[in-house]
């Protein structure tokens, strides 16, 4: 499967994942929270030929999905539903029952942790990923079997590496 998240520089609309289209298994991806992270992931996955449905409580989030697109989000095959991840009707309207993968990417850790567990336990979505900014809770929920992505942890590690390299240069020079 092509990597996602590395395609920001690629043209929109063109299938340019580098892999022949028939080698990609099409998945139905549901994303809750169409902020910077959610909307970029949504566009990247759609570009790679997957089916993408976004749920956001803010109707204005729809505009963010269309950044860089020449056609409306729906015309390129995307879905958008207004609602929160705690509303069962909203989850169903967005298609959670047929989702192969679910990403909780709202700006609230607590919301992401709760809705990821709902997707996993109630709707049995096969792949569930939660974005959790708090490294300590991300680590604990990961141990509990919830797949988590912690951007804060990534930032800490990158900064640590950079700072150590810089320090080594100072010490060596």
């Amino acid at each position: 499967m092509p990597r996602v998240g590395d395609g920001s520089a690629r043209g929109v609309g063109g299938a340019s994942s580098g892999l022949p289209r028939d080698s990609i298994q099409i998945v139905f991806l549901m994303i809750v929270g169409a902020g910077r992270v959610g909307s970029s992931l949504a566009r990247a996955m759609l570009r790679d030929g997957h089916t993408v449905s976004c749920l956001d409580e803010d109707p204005e989030a729809h505009a963010r999905l269309e950044i860089g697109l020449e056609k409306p989000w729906e015309d390129v095959g995307g879905q958008f539903t207004v609602g929160t991840g705690l509303e069962i009707e909203a989850l169903q309207a967005a298609g959670i029952e047929r989702a192969d993968a679910f990403v909780a990417a709202t700006d609230g850790d607590n919301t992401n942790i709760v809705i990821a567990q709902i997707a996993k336990m109630r709707f049995k979505v096969p792949t569930v990923i939660a974005r959790i900014l708090d490294p300590y809770r991300a680590e604990w929920y990961e141990q509990q079997g919830l797949h988590t992505i912690c951007p804060t942890r990534v930032a800490i590690e990158m900064l640590e590496t950079e700072v150590k390299e810089a320090a080594a240069k100072v010490a060596g020079g």
Binding site: L86, D109, N110, T111, I113, V114, M121, Y136, W140
Partner: protein, 224 residues
């Protein structure tokens, strides 16, 4: 018993006060700075400032040795996760969570958080039991301005504190339907003795609110 309470709203604050009066050890955690400062004037070292969603805040409050964790913030996700973490990470025996939006009750159940206290549920159940002559459906069908339910907090100086429900002279057209005390609600019997710190729910004809408030005492403010 060591009790950790999260959320120093009216419910949390009164709970803390009552439990301290009963001789328990209590820590109350509040994440709103202004509210914390207000509550701290009374409860002093029994209240801590911080977001109890963060593990270190719970740990600083000694969550692992708590016999009971009560999550009564105004945010259902917070209440759910605080109880989940308390139970599953810190092995706290007993938790109680407040449900603000009754539609979220199913998620508390899904995560195995029990028991939960939902004011709305409580009121609806009480109406069914206590006002059979109206009937629940009929009552809810009434136009909003025809009937109201209000919540009153009995202040320290409330003239009804210490009195039996049977001895109350409530205004005609009003009925006491529940008492919330220490995080649990119950249907008052005629023998129930009201206490300051109680939150009482009353169903009443419109226009009686002021009369009822006066009757329950100058310190009884509506806990919104």
């Amino acid at each position: 018993m060591y009790v950790l309470i999260v959320g120093a709203g009216k419910v949390g604050w009164n709970l803390a006060r009552e439990l301290l009066d009963k001789g328990h050890e209590v820590t109350l955690i509040e994440n709103n700075r202004d509210r914390y400062v207000t509550v701290e004037q009374e409860l002093e070292h029994n209240v801590q400032y911080g977001d109890a969603s963060e593990l270190w805040v719970l740990e600083r409050a000694g969550v692992s040795r708590a016999d009971l964790v009560i999550a009564v913030t105004g945010d259902d996700e917070d209440n759910m996760l605080i109880c989940q973490v308390a139970k599953e990470k810190y092995m706290v025996e007993q938790t109680i969570a407040r449900v603000n939006n009754p539609r979220n009750k199913q998620w508390f159940e899904l995560l195995g958080i029990a028991p939960v206290v939902s004011a709305t549920d409580l009121i609806l159940r009480l109406i069914e039991h206590e006002v059979p002559k109206y009937g629940l459906v009929h009552l809810l069908d009434l136009p909003r301005e025809r009937l109201e339910i209000i919540e009153l907090l009995l202040g320290d100086g409330s003239p009804v504190a210490g009195r039996r429900v049977a001895d109350l002279e409530l205004p005609e057209g009003s009925l006491l339907i529940s008492v919330l005390r220490d995080g649990t609600g119950f249907v008052p019997s005629p023998e129930t003795v009201l206490e300051s710190g109680d939150e009482v729910l009353a169903v009443l004809d419109p226009g009686l609110e002021e009369e009822l408030k006066t009757y329950f005492g100058p310190d009884g403010t509506s806990p919104d």
